[in-house]
Assembly symmetry: C2
Homo-oligomer: 501 residues x 2
């Protein structure tokens, strides 16, 4: 085997660079890589087939993990009667305010001839809210499912669309409608519910790190950042390339709040009535935003092999049918060898597009490995193998392709995680005074570990002064005596601050 690593020398893309305008780079990449686009409906996106294929891989892997931990899927109504929200006081404040409200159930022809208009006689007695999250409708249902300790635990997940009326939206990161999964579990004891919330945080952590190749911090939210209705919110936090944090998943210990709001009791083994303990946990299409912003570069998307809809693409470079036939024979043979190992391969022999266009497109779309086969490769028994993450290419003997590629895919998966971890380590620091803290927060410094006095008041004040929020109280933080960066009051451990998406 002979090697000839060279930087790829074609540069098409036409993406704004990250340095020039990070936000513009992101938006252009999402559209040009065929991941998503804005729709004609304010704040709602269209997830395009290629983007959805990545989301399907996320879904499939998570779904398997949920089932392995004993959960089953179910489906609950999209609409929630307005009165349900009023039953859990903090929940209505957190969710029911900015929401889509269904008030009517019929349109009619405009008597003035202006198309169709709402039929005023078809007004609902009680307005319906398009679910922003499903705790209320689900706990209203669990009331029917739970009588005895024999009915517990209930371990249910739902894959669904939800709507939160956001005024400033961004593809994947913040949209009025988004896709997610929401787990909702019911338990006989507090301890069991806390264990469940922690188990699901671990499921998320393993998935995001091992499959998405994104390192995360694991921690607890402060009281001010907790889910509306939760006693404790566990979270995983990732760091994006622009130095801003992104919350990648949350798992909530809800105590007995929803059981009390919806009167869900069970008879325990001793025959006594008790309120049920609850958790809920979710990740959303926001993960797509985290994926894009962790690994991608100025040439487009970079995908970890475990999430790539195609791990390898083969592009023939030919003149005339005869050459194409000869190349196709080699390509078919390679595909067979790779597919037998469970590797997904696409052979793009379309004659409607030129090889250069295809190279550019697959680079934009982040296909981990690209094989090009031309007439010279036929002579030499080689192929040109290009690696998306490093943008290097080499010639590989056709006989070695099927052993080399699985090794390379593993290496890329590992490299992407390590690179992101190195980036995070390089962008994690301590701040020991307000001057230090304030100076750091003039930019997007990454994760800043600082002491905090534990009050929501101080947290809010810091946010007001610097736009930084407490991302989490890390689960593995060591005890350390210190003083709050703002108030100088005593603190027992550092918390993690950052500017956040």
């Amino acid at each position: 085997m002979y090697k000839s690593y060279t930087k790829l020398n074609y540069m098409a893309k036409h993406l704004t660079t990250r340095e020039a305008d990070y936000s513009k780079w992101y938006n252009e990449l999402v559209v040009k890589a065929d991941l998503a686009q804005n729709s004609g409906v304010r704040g709602s996106m269209v997830i395009k087939p290629y983007g959805f294929a990545i989301w399907e891989r996320i879904q499939a892997d998570l779904d398997r993990r949920f089932k392995e931990t004993g959960h089953m899927n179910a489906y609950f109504p999209l609409f929630i009667p307005k009165s349900y929200f009023s039953k859990e006081a903090s929940h209505v404040d957190g969710f029911a305010k900015e929401c889509a409200v269904v008030t009517h159930y019929r349109l009619m022809d405009d008597p003035n001839g202006g198309g169709v208009v709402v039929d005023p006689s078809a007004k609902l007695e009680e307005e319906l809210i398009v679910r922003p999250t499903s705790e209320t409708i689900i706990w209203d249902t669990y009331k029917d499912w739970i009588q005895s300790y024999r009915d517990l635990p209930i371990l249910v997940n739902q894959w669904a669309n939800v709507v939160r009326w956001e005024m400033r939206t961004r593809l994947f990161l913040r949209t009025a409608e988004f896709l997610w999964q929401e787990g909702h579990t019911a338990h006989a004891t507090k301890e069991e519910a806390i264990t469940e919330a922690e188990t699901m945080l671990n499921v998320y952590t393993d998935f995001v790190q091992d499959v998405m190749a994104i390192p995360v911090l694991r921690g607890l939210k402060t009281e001010g950042e907790r889910f509306a209705g939760a006693l404790e919110t566990y979270c995983i936090e990732a760091l994006m390339q622009d130095g801003k944090a992104l919350q990648a998943g949350t798992s909530h210990f809800l105590g007995q709040n929803f059981a009390k709001a919806f009167e869900v009791k069970f008879q325990n083994k001793e025959g006594k009535q008790e309120y049920v303990w609850a958790t809920s946990w979710g990740v959303s299409t926001r993960l797509m935003g985290a994926l894009i912003m962790t690994h991608s570069d100025d040439n487009g998307l970079v995908l970890p092999p475990k999430l790539a809809p195609y791990q390898v693409v083969i592009v023939p470079i030919y003149k005339g049918q005869e050459q194409l036939d000869a190349i196709s024979e080699v390509a078919e043979d390679l595909m067979g060898q790779l597919r037998a190992q469970g590797i997904t391969v696409k052979y793009d022999n379309r004659d409607t597009h030129k090889p250069g266009w295809k190279f550019n497109q697959y680079e934009l779309q982040g296909i981990p490995l690209r094989i090009a086969i031309g007439p010279k490769d036929l002579e030499k028994g080689s192929v040109e193998l290009a690696r998306r993450d490093t943008l290097t290419k080499e010639f590989v003997d056709q006989k070695e392709v099927s052993t080399k590629i699985p090794e390379l895919l593993d290496e890329i998966q590992h490299t992407l995680f390590q690179k992101a971890l190195d980036f995070r380590e390089a962008h994690s620091q301590e701040a020991n005074s307000w001057e230090e803290f304030e100076a750091l927060m003039k930019g997007n410094p990454g994760f800043v570990y600082a002491h905090w006095d534990g009050t929501t008041e101080t947290e809010n004040k810091i946010k007001e002064l610097t736009k930084a929020t407490i991302r989490c109280i890390p689960l593995d933080a060591k005890e350390e005596d210190g003083v709050c960066v703002l108030t100088g009051k005593p603190s027992k451990q550092r918390v993690v601050f950052a500017k956040a998406y």
Copy 2:
């Protein structure tokens, strides 16, 4: 191996019989078998974990077939601006009238202290319709995707929830919100679009017959029964045990209607601008209703093995831990052998429920095969094997279980289809005069083949007089001269009438 077929002699269930009240039997079965239940939201159901597990099997199998025929999934917005519906005239009549309308995007605290109320200042400029079907929003998007013949065909499917404001709802059969898939394809030529619509009808036919074990008639809808906006609607029609028909899936050739409404043109190979040709096709959670009503009996659900969340359940019958341990050893061994063959098995060793309760529950839930292992079986090296579809049981040597079960599962799958086909054949007949026709339609006779003069007027008149509708014009009907049962006008082939869900 020794056999001892006997009718199972416990009869718990507490289901109303089909003969006593078919509709009540259906509703009770759906709830008691843990498939679905009504929710606190009018017309919206909760799909329970067990019911959803069956739906997931339907989804997975269909999704594989869609991908094998070249389709990719995508996701489009839940909300559709009202004005989009007005762009395709017949579509607005068919769908936009009975629908959920979002008019506001915020709630606020009631100034009079009555919980939360709609904030009148948060009124949308244009109302949003919760999608009843997505042709309009999708063709508004395709406008961006299609410029040239190179961009065609577009073969996209969406798994989604949709809402149609039904006044009389029934679990799975007719609900305000339901789950479905909707394929939406775009083509350069009329012929290609028609081929696509037919291909998807075939995909549905194969799936419903081979996996759901439900025989279907394939045909075309009459003009009066066509999808709003379609030039031709292909359908598959199944016959339920009460002699009523159920439409199990439709595939529409939409012509250029939506392309014209949304101005979607492409440049053909000759450089000319042409409107794009379209199809759409869908099946929904209604298939769950078809499944239940085709195979089930007075003891509960009967599932074809290919759709059963568990194909086999093993129930230990024991006194004390020692017996349970010995039985569990046998059970674990059998499970290993069955799982190695890709058979799904559940071992229900819960000590919170008695064997009789479990037998009853799994019978209600339609698990195809049940294995019971008791102390005598340990002595004799046997198990008791019960078959859900025939309600027979036999003793089987433990050594023969792993070869016998896959054979039995195949046999059950086949038997269920054949039984349903026999039922349909026994409930298909011809009517050659109005007297015959009217007499038959006093009940629910099944499929009635009769001549019809081809006009919507006659079709409507027949419906008014008998409540029977034309289910389809069969694709494989032979030409046959005759006269319309109602008007006596000439007809070239019989069409299929029935009372329908």
